[in-house]
């Protein structure tokens, strides 16, 4: 049993992960009906559903800790209460932007989930193991696109590089600790995300270089998960509109 402070810290951490997944899933789902080819349309709908499934896993773990209702958290929290990283809320852009973001996020997930399978909190270790399997496949998909965009045509390369220039600084936010994370790291519940940044930059940097893309230097890195862009507002307004329109609806 976790002591109350650790419990609260874990609730915050699970919420941050879930919010990343929910917001990214919503961005991916915006491609449904608009992807460049039918097969990729189906694929991106699958990715969106998977990410949403992962959010559900994290929010159900949270529910075990504090009894909160996952649906209520997703549909009735205001943008300022969302704890997602800025990376996932940026508009979907073109196909290159979406695929480069997916690659950067998948690579991060593969790295930390692998570490989280060793968590001292067994429900987290078990969930991480389950999600990691699916994320490995996601990474195969986004890596394949990264390679084809980077080395395809002059235009695909230009678009992929532009996407990377915008996205890369935001990736670094993913490795920041929440104020309460330190305690979780100390007791082995949470992998130290800060320690994963260097291996991430090395691994991702090497792959980007192989496909002819160059990570930009510098750039603005958001300071906390309370920071959001204006884009989160419209995303949540759309995503939450049905639930908020009739909050008492109770049957499907």
């Amino acid at each position: 049993m976790l002591d109350p402070y650790l419990k609260e810290a874990l609730v915050a951490r699970l919420t941050a992960w879930a919010d990343d997944e929910v917001v990214l899933a919503q961005r991916l789902s915006e491609w449904v009906g608009h992807a460049p080819i039918l097969e990729e349309d189906i694929a991106i709908a699958n990715l969106a559903q998977d990410e949403l499934g992962h959010a559900k896993v994290w929010l159900e773990l949270r529910q075990e800790l504090d009894g909160s209702d996952p649906d209520h958290l997703v549909f009735f929290r205001d943008p300022l209460e969302y704890q997602n990283a800025v990376l996932v809320e940026l508009p979907k852009g073109d196909w290159a932007f979406t695929m480069v973001r997916q690659y950067l996020f998948d690579a991060y997930e593969n790295l930390w989930l692998k570490e989280a399978t060793k968590s001292a909190y067994l429900p987290l270790a078990e969930a991480a193991g389950r999600i990691l399997k699916e994320e490995k496949f996601h990474l195969s998909h986004s890596s394949l696109w990264l390679e084809r965009l980077g080395q395809g045509t002059e235009e695909s390369h230009r678009r992929a590089q532009e996407a990377l220039d915008t996205l890369f600084p935001y990736v670094r936010q993913l490795f920041q600790l929440l104020p309460t994370d330190e305690a979780l790291v100390e007791v082995g519940v949470l992998p130290d995300l800060r320690a994963l940044e260097a291996p991430y930059l090395e691994e991702v940097g090497a792959r980007l270089e192989r496909v002819g893309l160059r990570p930009p230097q510098g750039g603005y890195v958001p300071k906390s998960r309370q920071e959001h862009t204006e884009y989160l507002w419209s995303l949540l307004a759309e995503m939450q509109s049905v639930a908020r329109w009739d909050p008492e609806a109770k049957a499907w």
Binding site: I37, L38, E39, E40, I42, A43, N46, D50, R130, K133, E134, K136, F137, S140, H141, L144, R148, V242, D246, E248, A249, K250, A251, W252
Partner: protein
């Protein structure tokens, strides 16, 4: 291939380690590796699978039962190569249209099908050179990440999900 359209690949799915690979449909993709990935998304999100294979659709030779009488296998002592031969067993409606009969060393697809006919009946046959078939690696890692997650996902018919209704639906 028309205009800028990507080529079409036939998708072959193997459900378990011991079941025969079956032709299940096709995908458009940029190259074989990409075809395998989208085939996983399109054909294997729910049902179980052990392996996937793809081959360019245009590389398939096909013949129906009616055409078999005109099949003229070349056997001139030329070089042989391996072909995969598939047979559609009946006209019964099915999600699958060709089962793998086997792998045959032949001088051409007609020859491969003629050999397969000694083993299997069918209403249509396909043959494709093995060198053009690309499959998923039969490693634990691939099976775990490509196919295992589907096992935990419940498949539900569309009709399972009703329409959202207003409050008080139980009393309606």
């Amino acid at each position: 291939m028309w205009g800028t359209e990507w080529p079409r690949f036939e998708v072959i799915k193997q459900d378990t380690q011991h079941s025969p690979p079956q032709m299940v449909g096709s995908v458009h993709a940029a190259d074989p590796e990409h075809a395998l990935l989208v085939a996983r998304h399109v054909f294997v999100r729910r049902p179980a699978a052990y392996a996937l294979f793809v081959a360019p659709a245009e590389a398939f030779f096909h013949v129906s039962q009616e055409g078999l009488k005109d099949l003229a296998p070349r056997r001139e002592g030329g070089p042989e190569e391996a072909y995969w031969v598939f047979a559609k067993r009946s006209h019964r409606r099915s999600m699958v249209y060709g089962d793998l009969v086997g792998r045959f060393l032949a001088q051409g697809p007609e020859d491969a099908i003629a050999q397969a006919l000694l083993q299997a009946q069918g209403v249509a046959f396909w043959a494709v050179p093995e060198r053009l078939v690309v499959g998923t690696e039969p490693t634990e890692e691939v099976v775990e990440s490509w196919f295992a997650p589907a096992k935990d996902k419940r498949y539900r018919l569309q009709s399972y999900y009703g329409l959202i209704t207003a409050k008080g639906v139980e009393d309606a």
